[in-house]
Structures are given as structure tokens and as C-alpha cells.
């Protein structure tokens, strides 16, 4: 799985950090999401999919492994 995060779309709601703080964090200056790891290990996949689904700005896209 590879995560594509569109920071321009991000509205800093913090939903992704709440869902998986090991994968997502927020910039100090404006709370915009940052990726701690763009290719998280499988243990995180369920949480990352949920984070993508609940992102209010649809800023998280996932490229799943085939």
C-alpha cells in the first residue's frame, strides 16, 4: 500500500492523526497533515483505509498493492 496525501486539499481536521498516529501527523504551523510513512506495513492498512474514508477533504488516496 502506498499513501498519496494531497496537502493542498487538507483542511487540518485531524481525523487521520486520530485514526493512526503512527502513520499521520500534523505540521506545527497550520495542522496540515503530514505522512510519517508513505508505505505503512500491513498492520496499519485497516486504520489507513479508515483514515482515507473519513477524511472530510478527500485528501488521502491509496494505491493498494496488487
Amino acid at each position: 500500500m502506498k499513501i498519496l496525501l494531497d496537502q493542498d486539499r487538507c483542511v487540518a481536521s485531524g481525523q487521520c492523526v486520530m485514526t493512526d498516529p503512527d502513520v499521520f501527523d500534523q505540521r506545527d504551523e497550520d495542522g496540515v497533515a503530514i505522512l510519517l510513512t508513505p508505505s505503512p506495513n500491513p498492520a496499519h492498512h485497516t486504520a489507513v483505509r479508515e483514515a482515507a474514508a473519513i477524511c472530510p477533504a478527500a485528501a488521502i488516496q491509496l494505491a493498494e498493492d496488487q
Partner: protein
């Protein structure tokens, strides 16, 4: 299928079920995904009844949140307030909305808010101590539900709490549907002027208003826009959470099995899940998210034309059985994670991490410290905010 309806908004709740959305709205949800309704000015915007459609449309950039655009379904009559601009960026579209929003999002980041938790716990404990030492019965709204979020948002913004009587009463006028346009306008002006004069006194005090004042100083932001953002954060920061505390407590008192689950658990996950479920179940933002179409949009098989108003009532979205099984049951153990109580899309509540921590601290503390808490008025005699832009109770007499 599209049906036209004679239903006028706001619809009335069933007095016997004060926690449930108006039954007529629920009926429409059963019947069709998209209906026409009539609002106060005689216009007939669309009503989107179901959770999935509401969620999708709230992320659609072809719907505008700007109430000055023709066709926007206004909640109440609106008068332009001269020279002061609007109430912050919630009534703007991107890219300007996002530019302004990002100026105030930093203090609401998850980690920053988590760091406030011990301070919020102290505020909650102090207020409970004071209430227990005071007379019985007490009004939970006045003694506890309003002061908790007011103290917290004052600290965060850098507003003196001593002024709470002033900003609380103007906030009430501003969001009440029964205020005349004149009263609403005067209260908005008063709050705007209050924030504007506070901004003028700020000098790198480390609070959010100081940061806005600095942006005014370097030309990124006009003083008027800064004051508008201040009004938005101050009003949204205390009214909403205060209503969730008092109405949530009343809902739990009416559901003693759920209250017991919450009170007897040490699991922060259960507390967090109870907060989400109460947000879903109560959806105090009960006047619907409102938008106007900027282009023709296909919604549930029907074309909504550019310039037509669209109302997305998230209170019935959160009771959609297609999304939440047995939706009228308060169940603090359910996964309510996809509720729309904070809205959805780019305008989703920016203060939600703070609201969550405040509610988690309150719900995990109040009923443990006062296990005998009960209401002293009949449910039928408790004044609900049927006319409120935000739902709740005006007062909640309790004893212990």
C-alpha cells in the same frame, strides 16, 4: 423518485421524543432521497435526506457555502452589517476559505489539544467541586455546561473570562432563530466590536487572537476579517460544546443502562465511543448544512440546477438506518465513527478535536463524581431549544 412536499422548515419535533429529529423529516427520508421543501422566505430548496448522499455532496465543490449567492437557502432573514464582513470563513468557498481557515487550525491539532487535557480536567473538577458545595437543586447549564467550554475557549483565544456574561448573551441572540434580524444584527456588531477591540490590545501574548493580530499587523488579514474569525471561534467554541454537555447528560439520565456502562468503565476507548455516539444521536447542529448549487448536479437521479438551494439535514442523516442500524437507540458501544455531527467536507468543524477532548473529560468525570445526579423537573417541563440554531436545553435543574 422525486416528491414535492408541502413541508415547511423548520419542522417540529415530537414533544414526547425530544432527542429525536422531527418525525415528518424522518418520513421524507423513508420516502425519497431528494425532496422539495418550503422555507421561511417562500423559496423551495431541495432537501437531501440520506446519509450517503449528504456525505458525498458535502465534499462536492460545485456546492457553495456562500450565503450571498442567489438561491442560497438562508436559515433566517439576513441583514448586511455594514463594514464588518461576515462571520468568518464558514460562509466562504475555497480558495479564500482555506487560506483563512489555515490561519487558525494550528492550536486545534490533535497533539496540541491532547496537551490541554490535564488543564481541562482541572477546570471540570473545580466546577464540580463548586457545584457540590453550592445549593441544590442547581442548573447544570449555568453551573457547569456553559462554564467548561467558555473557560477553555477563552484561554485558547485569549479572551478574558470575566466578560462571559457579555459574549454568552450575544451568542445566544446571534444563533437563536427567534431573534429578530435587528437583535441578531446588533449582537453580531457587539461581538465583532468586542473582538476587534481585544485584537487591538494584543501583543504577542501567545494566544490565538495574538496570532491573528500579528497577521493583521503584517497585512495578511484585515482587522475586520480577524474579528469575524474571532467571533466564529468564540461562539462556536462554547455554545456547541455547552449544549452537548447538558443535552448529553439529560440523554444519559434517560438511558440509565448506557449511563451505567459509561460510568463503570475505565476504558478510554469506550468513553471516546460514547462521545461519538452522543454526537450522532443528538446532532445538535439541527438546522441542516446549507449550500447552493454553482452548476447542474445530478443528485440521486435528479438534476439539481445551478442556482438552486440544497439543504442537507445531518440530524436525519445521523439517524439513517441505511448507515446506522437501529438508529434511534442510544448505544455507547456502537461504531458511530461516520456520523455527520461536525459536518463533512472542507467546512467540517475545525474545533472537533477540542470538542472531543472536552466531552471525553466531562462524560468520564461528571457521573463518576456525582453518581446520584438526577433531574429535578419532569422531562416535559424542561425547556428545549426548539428555536435554537444549535439544539439543547435552556436549563437543566439537577440534584444529587
Amino acid at each position: 423518485m422525486v416528491i414535492d412536499t408541502a413541508l415547511s422548515l423548520p419542522a417540529a419535533r415530537d414533544a414526547k421524543c425530544p432527542f429525536d429529529p422531527p418525525p415528518e423529516l424522518r418520513k421524507l427520508q423513508d420516502q425519497a432521497p431528494l425532496v422539495r421543501v418550503r422555507i421561511w422566505d417562500g423559496s423551495t430548496p431541495w432537501l437531501v435526506t440520506r446519509h450517503a448522499d449528504q456525505r458525498q455532496l458535502l465534499t462536492d465543490p460545485r456546492l457553495s457555502a456562500d450565503p450571498t449567492k442567489p438561491g442560497y437557502p438562508l436559515q433566517v432573514e439576513r441583514r448586511a452589517v455594514s463594514g464588518r464582513g461576515g462571520i468568518g470563513f464558514i460562509m466562504m468557498d475555497d480558495p479564500e476559505h482555506n487560506r483563512l481557515r489555515r490561519m487558525v487550525t494550528a492550536p486545534f491539532a490533535i497533539k496540541r489539544v491532547e496537551a490541554l487535557r490535564p488543564g481541562i480536567q482541572r477546570i471540570v473538577d473545580d466546577l464540580i467541586d463548586r457545584m457540590l458545595a453550592g445549593p441544590k437543586p442547581a442548573d447544570l447549564v449555568e453551573a457547569f455546561a456553559l462554564p467548561v467550554p467558555s473557560l477553555v475557549i477563552c484561554q485558547l483565544l485569549g479572551v478574558p473570562y470575566e466578560d462571559h456574561a457579555l459574549f454568552q448573551s450575544h451568542s445566544r441572540n446571534l444563533i437563536s432563530r427567534s431573534s429578530t434580524p435587528e437583535v441578531r444584527g446588533a449582537s453580531f456588531e457587539a461581538l465583532h466590536d468586542y473582538l476587534s477591540s481585544l485584537l487591538a490590545t494584543k501583543d504577542a501574548d501567545g494566544d490565538l487572537l495574538s496570532q491573528l493580530a500579528e497577521r493583521v499587523g503584517n497585512g495578511e488579514l484585515s482587522r475586520g476579517d480577524a474579528a469575524g474569525i474571532g467571533v466564529l471561534l468564540l461562539v462556536a467554541g462554547h455554545e456547541t460544546t455547552a449544549n452537548m454537555i447538558s443535552l448529553g447528560t439529560l440523554a444519559l439520565l434517560e438511558n440509565p443502562d448506557q449511563l451505567a456502562l459509561l460510568r463503570d468503565s475505565d476504558d478510554p476507548k469506550l468513553v471516546a465511543s460514547a462521545v461519538e455516539e452522543l454526537l450522532r444521536y443528538l446532532t445538535i447542529t439541527h438546522t441542516g448544512r446549507r449550500r447552493v448549487a454553482l452548476a447542474d448536479i445530478e443528485i440521486a437521479g435528479t438534476t439539481v440546477r445551478a442556482g438552486e438551494g440544497v439543504i442537507l439535514p445531518n440530524d436525519i442523516g445521523n439517524r439513517d438506518p441505511g448507515q446506522f442500524p437501529d438508529p434511534d437507540r442510544l448505544d455507547v458501544t456502537r461504531d458511530a465513527g461516520r456520523h455527520l455531527a461536525f459536518g463533512f467536507g472542507v467546512h467540517q468543524c475545525l474545533g472537533q478535536p477540542l470538542a472531543r477532548v472536552e466531552l471525553q473529560v466531562v462524560y468520564s468525570t461528571l457521573y463518576r463524581r456525582i453518581p446520584t445526579l438526577h433531574r429535578t423537573a419532569e422531562l416535559a417541563d424542561i425547556p428545549f431549544k426548539h428555536d435554537g440554531g444549535v439544539y439543547g436545553v435552556h436549563e437543566l435543574p439537577v440534584s444529587w
